[in-house]
Amino acid sequence: MNKFSWYEAKSVEDALEQVNSTVSEELYQATDKAAVFKSGGIDVFDWVKEGLLKPQKIVNIRNIPDLDKISYDPKKGMSIGSNVTLAEIASNPETKNHYWALHQAVNHAATPQLRNMSTLGGNIAQRNRCWYFRSADHDCFRKGGARCFARQSETGENENHAIIDNGSCVSVHASSIATALMAFNASVVIINGKGEKKEVTMDDFFVTAGKDIAMENILQAKEIITEIILPAPTKNTKSAYIKQVARESYDWSLGDVAVVFEVSGNTCRSASIVLGAAAPVPYRSMEAQQAIENKTINSENAFAAAEAAMKIARPLAKNGYKVPLFIATLKQAILEIS
């Protein structure tokens, strides 16, 4: 790692004053003069160790008071501070009782050790794991380069990559927890350097590669996530989450699915269906939602919804298997709700 100084932020305001860039900006156009945030630090240190990020200063936001609270109110829903660790969410009984899909997603994320270190804010803000993006030897779009190595039909190693919205960058978002959060219609609370607070839905938090190749989310340099809010479920809210991985012990998602339904009896009244590792950002499948809404939850309808989700899939040379994988997984997730 390069030499950097360490600023121990005492408050959100203090932290915002110290920081001058984002990891994404710095990866896109290196100045080597960046002061960037670090919370759990897993993704930031990974970039620094690879030599792709050479920060001048690391602003440690991990110990800022009050960002590590988790609370649940039957009316308001759940608030999870950005510094709450994945392990804390995993062991939280309210998450398990009211947000089953999130509970499942968190429990299948990373390893026990990493769950003790990683924070929720860092998890949804981490960059994708495309091995070309992560390689110092491949100057790809996301790093200000002129090509996407993964999409090359003859040479691209794209078995883990996107099958939807893969027109520019073909990476898939690294956070499988984000899949579940988006399905719950969670929102992200962001404070900027002027002390202004905004609440954006997960759908609006993520930025597609087509919109801004440098970014995967809307966070600007002088902005910080303080909490993630999940709306309160009703007594008819049911959810499921399934993640498919090459290696069950721990692995990056090959395809994960979060499904949150409002049901009456065995009928889906409204559906929220999000696919992870399908597109460069977590992908809400309107097609699948429409296909299952006001339908009985059964094998036939679940399969139809899953097929509808894959209608827009345009696989690359090596990831065609993701289509049947998603169909099987989404079908199974929907049926878990019945």
Binding site: E8, D46, T111, P112, Q113
Partner: protein, 211 residues
């Protein structure tokens, strides 16, 4: 066990052993540690460090490891794994992947298993570190350690410290441990030799105190 005088370790000695040399090598990569005079104590008890900037050069900090307060001269970029191995000579903690993917570097931070390779030593602050060297109490091995010996639960041994940290944690924090629990606890621990079946057996045996 406590290193009372950190500086004495850095004096050149003849006939360096491999271990003591590695410690020295780590320091040399960490910059001109010995020349640092403006040492600032990031004391885990006395000093709240918030609102201050440290580094990038090495400085002396204090850290509680295995129940003892140690001071060491480190940079913000010094990982906890490097601080333990290269500065405090606690070489039981291993570095396998250096990216949080193999968990050979597992230590406890306030009792919770973490990857010491993926955190700065500055992340420790007032939290307490437990390493593999701190698992045996008063010279008595932990039941998991005894069971690892009894059931031949190591081959090359390089994953063993991290594996034991994971297994001790699950044994000490569970009741009615079953095979699934042990597998879950060691999900992040790479053993390239493939010695897992004996690790599972040993840990279950330790939990049942049948060794």
């Amino acid at each position: 066990m406590e290193d009372k005088n950190q500086d004495s370790k850095f004096k050149p000695t003849k006939g360096l052993s491999r271990r003591s040399f590695i410690r020295g090598a780590g320091l040399s990569t960490a910059g001109s540690v010995l020349l640092t005079t403006n040492a600032f104590a990031l004391d885990y008890r006395e000093h709240r460090s918030a609102g201050e900037e440290f580094g990038p050069d090495a400085m002396t900090i204090k850290m509680k490891v295995n129940g003892l307060v140690k001071s060491l001269s480190v940079e913000p970029r010094t990982t906890l794994a490097s601080a333990l191995r290269d500065h405090l000579e606690l070489t039981g903690t291993k570095v396998g992947c250096d990216r949080g993917s193999c968990s050979a570097c597992t230590v406890y931070l306030d009792g919770k298993p973490v990857n010491s390779c993926m955190m700065s030593v500055f992340d420790v602050a007032d939290k307490e570190i437990t390493t593999i060297e701190g698992i045996a109490k008063n010279g008595e091995l932990h039941p998991v350690q005894k069971a690892f010996i009894e059931h031949d639960a190591s081959q090359c041994g390089y994953c063993t410290p991290g594996m034991i940290m994971s297994c001790v944690h699950v044994v000490d924090n569970s009741t009615d441990l079953n095979l699934e629990d042990v597998k879950n606890a060691t999900r992040g621990n790479l053993c390239r030799c493939g010695t897992h079946p004996h690790v599972f057996k040993a840990t279950l045996a330790a939990a049942k105190k049948t060794i």
